[in-house]
């Protein structure tokens, strides 16, 4: 379960988050929408503890990750998988090593099992045969999918996706959304997914939140968001119609 309570954050003297409140129950996925530059990525980075709040709390299964340090923080993070908006692949090692990295460092799986899992995961994100390439040789969308494979391969309990399908063609985007749905059906992770693809994700997620100018403008179920007359929320549908 993820619970964000009254989260405030200023960066470089600009107030980016101005009192964020929401809750994602165990096994639910929340779609987070909002215009570019309105603080979605900043919000997600607080949930994994890369950024620390100026005020407020972020509870992961009841424990505050904002004030955790050392082994307590590591224990919380072991539950998390995070897909960075830019992928954040390690550019000094190849694709195979990138996806294998968390498996090698965090599990005691034997070599052959890791190899099998990495190749299978790359196949699932639609990139079989790229394992020997280096991140610099991949397109932006390919990097994103390798990063997704790296995030999914450890089967984390909580997954945070920062725009998993942005920059992908519609066909690939749909297959990535399907992969996230299949994975969710299989391991029932708790998740937050930043997306602009509202029409495509309504069938995947259980909740939708709209972030606007540093506050949560709307939260509700997919049915509720389709029915709302809130003009700020309606914009997202018109853009994607």
């Amino acid at each position: 379960m993820i619970e964000v309570i009254d989260l405030h954050k200023s960066l470089n003297g600009v107030q980016v988050l101005k009192g964020i409140n929401f809750k994602v129950e165990k096994g639910e996925i929340l779609a987070l929408m909002g215009k570019s530059g309105h603080g979605k990525s900043v919000l997600l980075k607080h949930i994994v503890g890369i950024l620390k709040p100026d005020r407020g709390n972020i509870l992961i299964d009841g424990e505050d990750i904002g004030t955790s340090r050392g082994t307590a923080l590591e224990r919380l993070r072991s539950k998390l998988g995070y897909l960075f908006q830019g992928g954040a692949l390690f550019d000094s090692i190849n694709v195979f090593e990138n996806v294998a990295f968390p498996l090698r460092e965090k599990t005691s799986l034997p070599k052959e099992k890791i190899r099998e899992k990495v190749l299978q995961e790359l196949e699932q994100v639609g990139l079989p045969g790229v394992e020997n390439k280096y991140p610099a040789e991949l397109s932006g969308g390919m990097k994103k999918r390798v990063a997704l494979a790296r995030c999914l391969c450890t089967d984390p309990e909580i997954m945070l996706f920062d725009e998993p399908t942005t920059g992908l063609d519609t066909v690939t985007a749909r297959s990535i959304n399907n992969l996230i749905k299949e994975t969710h059906d299989r391991i029932k992770f708790t998740g937050v997914m930043i997306t602009h693809d509202i029409n495509q994700v309504l069938s995947i997620v259980q909740k939708v939140a709209v972030l606007d100018a540093g506050t949560i403008e709307f939260t509700g179920t997919p049915q509720e968001i389709q029915a709302t007359t809130d003009p700020i929320v309606r914009q997202f549908f018109n853009n994607n119609a």
Binding site: K45, S78, Y82, F84, L89
Partner: protein
């Protein structure tokens, strides 16, 4: 703080041996050509200079030990450290800086792993191991460069050049040189890793971090050298 944390993680296993070896290759092995070149020419010019000065007092016979002493105590550790800083220290700061701005360091943290263990500790160890090696290569090449100029060109006797050297150089001199390069290795890798690790955002941030890493390291090498020389004498 940064250095303290890094040192703590050096002694908490697991140590990433493969990364240490990779970084020794990067900081040390790949710097050897430039160190050999600068070592040779430093030895040669040092010999010319010393010969000129010493012949004024009729002390040419002591050319060998004069050259070797200067190299082992001062020029070897300091010049090789400056050269390695220019070649490898700058690259180190840039590489870690790019990892910072492309969120690769955050990615390590989010995986509940410690970036010090993966990035900083291997470089500090590689620095402590590589710098003395580079200084030794510099010294050996420098002394032979001096031999070429002094014995072959200026006609000092070969027995005199090497013989007197062995009489005058003792373990003490070598130990002073070793302390110097050990501490330079630590200082340079620490500063370069630190500047990269705390780089500000954007390409401008990385280029600033790289420049500052090289300038700060070079100044600290010279300041620390003066301090050590005055203390260890």
């Amino acid at each position: 703080m940064f250095l303290g944390t890094a040192i703590v993680y050096t002694f908490i296993p697991p140590l990433k041996i493969r990364r240490v070896i990779k970084q020794i290759s990067f900081i040390g092995v790949q710097s050897s050509l430039i160190v050999i070149l600068t070592g040779a020419f430093t030895g040669m010019v040092l010999t010319l200079q010393s010969y000129y000065a010493m012949s004024k007092f009729g002390a040419e016979a002591l050319l060998g030990p004069a050259v070797a002493l200067s190299l082992i105590r001062e020029l070897g550790p300091v010049t090789s450290a400056l050269m390695v800083t220019g070649r490898a220290g700058s690259a180190l700061a840039a590489e870690i800086g790019i990892m910072r701005i492309s969120e690769q360091i955050d990615a390590i943290e989010v995986m509940a792993l410690n970036p010090y263990r993966y990035l900083i500790v291997p470089n500090l160890l590689a620095g402590i191991i590589s710098f003395p090696l580079m200084a030794s290569i510099f010294n050996v090449v420098g002394i032979y460069g001096g031999y070429l100029v002094g014995v072959q060109l200026l006609g000092v006797s070969e027995g005199g050049y090497f013989g007197e050297m062995i009489t005058f150089i003792n373990m003490e001199e070598i130990r002073i040189g070793l302390y110097k390069s050990l501490s330079f290795g630590l200082i340079v890798t620490w500063i370069c890793c630190y500047k990269g690790f705390y780089t500000t955002y954007g390409a401008a941030g990385v280029s600033k971090a790289t420049t500052e890493a090289v300038v700060t390291s070079s100044i600290l090498i010279l300041v620390w050298d003066y301090f050590l020389t005055s203390v260890l004498f």
